[in-house]
Symmetry: C2
Subunit: 211 residues, 2 copies
């Protein structure tokens, strides 16, 4: 038994936990919370139902863990970009393009994540995490746009509207893409989104290459 290293047994247990989460993710993302039973998750992960309860208090808690893990990952990718200290144009650009990797490495989760965006997140405590990231991203985007306006890089716009629009456009596109992922097309689409929003924001016109 070591402080830094885990015993084989402990590693096994952790791996089992991951296996359960993975099976649950695939099921939830394709069929939704209510239409997936603990029995389904047990079968797919090749454990007994009882075992699931050794790892998670309840079905709901299992779902919450899933959300937390996924949101965490995405937040860790997006927030640093929005907080970096490059110029505003670059931040927005990177924010948009970052979604290529986000979608690619989290297809299953994105389905779950984005598919819940529309739901009344404020009401449902199961979606608290989503709600928080959503708000954070929105407010950071808004700040960036305001900063760009102050520096006269961006035209005069309504920052809260542009922030909303940019956020939901990328979300909608990500959802659509995660259904039939094709890296080239995703990149192409996100470049178009980048192009549209930067043209709408920047004072100088940039090239619009109609692909």
């Amino acid at each position: 038994m070591n402080k830094t290293k885990l015993s084989r047994k402990e590693k096994d247990k952790l791996r089992h936990r991951e296996e359960i989460l993975e099976a649950a993710l695939i099921l939830f993302s394709s069929k939704g919370f209510h239409t997936v039973s603990m029995q389904d998750i047990a079968s797919d992960s090749e454990f007994g139902v009882g075992t699931l309860y050794n790892f998670f208090e309840s079905k709901e808690q299992l779902f919450v863990e899933l959300m937390k893990a996924g949101i965490e990952k995405i937040g860790q990718l997006l927030i640093p970009i929005l907080d970096s200290n490059q110029e505003e144009e670059g931040k927005l650009s990177e924010f948009i393009l970052a979604h290529v990797d986000i979608i690619e490495s989290n297809i299953e989760f994105i389905k779950l994540y984005v598919s819940q965006y529309g739901m009344s997140t404020s009401a449902n405590p199961m979606l608290k995490n989503i709600s928080v990231l959503k708000t954070t991203v929105a407010s950071k985007l808004e700040s960036i746009i305001k900063a760009g306006m102050r520096k006269q890089i961006f035209r005069r716009v309504h920052p809260e509207i542009v922030a909303l629009s940019l956020r939901v456009t990328v979300e909608a596109f990500s959802l659509e893409s995660s259904e039939h992922f094709d890296k080239v097309k995703v990149k192409e689409g996100l470049l178009k989104i980048e192009n549209f929003f930067l043209n709408a924001l920047l004072k100088k016109e940039t090239d619009t290459k109609i692909i």
Copy 2:
């Protein structure tokens, strides 16, 4: 018994049907399909559970009827605008502003409608109607933008991206608004959205009044 007029009995029955649908709408829109029981709907509409089954084959069918009715109403408001023969700028403008009335007269339904937008509509047959309207609106918006570009009223943009962005922006805004409806604020917000998109599209700059 009359061919054109309905007997009192028939009118009663029709009204009862409406009462059930109304109770169901409020319940579904606030708690979601799975968390509402037929018992709940029966209690709220002041009928017995058995009665519900005199009107609707199943819970699912009841939900579908609800969707159909609401989508119908919204479609009848939006499609004519998109199909009208005013110039492109006017169509987009009207499309956006039409949402003031749509939200006002369908708050409960909008919650249901927009809240399902994110869900994998292609998979779930219960949401077929939504999916169809969504696609129709998207393609009509895209055509309008293309037409505007052809006439050189609009700048060169990626029509499918702008169409997507406009649609989901209005949707997201509508959902947000339906949670705490305030007509003045809704109108203000939609005007900002109109302003942003027209500025992004039109060759000549229009005024951006920061409110």
